[in-house]
Amino acid sequence: MSAVAAAREASTAPLYGLLLAGGRSSRMGQDKAALTYGDGPPQLERAMALLAAHVLRAYVSVRPDQAGDPLRARFAQIVDTHSNLGPIAGLLAAQALHPQVAWLVVACDLPLLDAPTLAHLVAARATARIATAYRSSHDGLPEPLCTIYEPGSRALLASYLEGGRNCPRKFLAQSDTLLLAEPNPRALDNINTPTEYSAVMSQVSAPKQITVQYYALLREQAGRRAEALATSAATPAQLYAELAKRYPFTLSAAVLRVAINNEFRDWATPLADGDAVVFIPPVAGG
């Protein structure tokens, strides 16, 4: 297929999702897809829910010997047809099954992956190019395991593999890939070892001591000027949602701003132990 024909075909390709859950988790010592964070669901279930919300159909990519695994058997599967190709095997099998669609490929071992990261990728998708991916905040290279592969990538991928190579990161780096900045620089942090797992566990689920100060209408509705609380909220957005269940707040987060440690911050900023948070109602100085 010529590049022009590929581009034309890509311009209308529907978007399917593929969750890569065929890894061997050898460094982790247990199946990464089954890991849980806090009181959340197993990682595979969480990732499938995120993925399914952004694509027409979502599949789990598995090795032949994993097809009967109860965790994986609950979802539509695509079974690898190649072995020893690493994560690319999953994409090859998916493209062989549905060559006319674009594939949003996501790895299962990204516990901090969030909906805004997927939504931004889908919204920025460049259908006339080979792929749309994020540029890693760590090394500046493409992140191949949270990427949209257009149908035109299939032929290129085949010739890339014929050359004896199977690194998806290098494939994207040398192809016509649109690279985006990550909205949340930690969203694509993957975990491979028990140490990395416990680091994420403590960030995601351990209660943090946070102080909250209230002003104006929020002060009156909370009935207090300040409080110290233990929360597992990961962001000020989650913390406000938690507090809004406790107090009769009438202001939606959409009209508030948030400050952490005396500076304005984004609602998605990760909360850290000891942070001082202030929710700022619409202002009326002067």
Binding site: Y215, R219, A259, N262, P281, P282, V283, A284, G285, G286
Partner: protein, 151 residues
């Protein structure tokens, strides 16, 4: 000179203006915001101002520095009242001195506009009827513009 401050007592504008004096400046412009006796047709008896002071002071200083850099004025200051204010009282003062009047006027306008937009300061109106309400908050979902009370 660029200084932002809060006060719980009456603002002495003459003393503040004197701090902006500079032989290189031929122009001084000031804005005073006073407590008005009505808001959208409702009679107002008094106002109550509250601020997240740490952040407001930082942001206020930033606004004044921006005005110096942007308009080339020599000095800028702002003082905002907090607490209970009666109708007619001075709620906010902005003063700017510059070599010429044009930049002084423009910087003064810029500062008060930015302060109203950016500083975490809230105003509760107490009405003659006995009701009260936080300006811009009680009807947030429907009213998003215009904060009455002063100028």
């Amino acid at each position: 000179m660029a200084a932002f401050a809060f006060t719980h007592t009456a603002i002495d504008t003459a003393a503040l203006a004197a701090q902006l004096a500079d032989p290189a400046c031929g122009g001084y412009a000031a804005f005073e915001g006073w407590v008005r006796d009505s808001h959208e047709g409702v009679r107002v008896r008094r106002l109550e101002y509250e601020a997240f002071e740490t952040l407001a002071l930082r942001e206020g200083e930033r606004i004044l520095s921006e005005a110096l850099a942007r308009f080339g004025v020599r000095h800028a200051g702002c003082v905002h009242r907090l607490g209970d204010l009666a109708v007619g009282e001075l709620a906010v003062w902005v003063g700017v001195s510059a070599p010429h009047r044009d930049e002084a006027f423009r910087a003064c306008r810029f500062i008060i506009d930015e302060i109203k937009q950016r500083l975490p300061i809230w105003k509760k109106e107490h009405y003659v009827s006995g009701d009260s309400g936080w300006v811009n908050c009680e009807r947030c979902a429907t009213a998003t513009s215009g904060e009455p009370g002063t100028a």
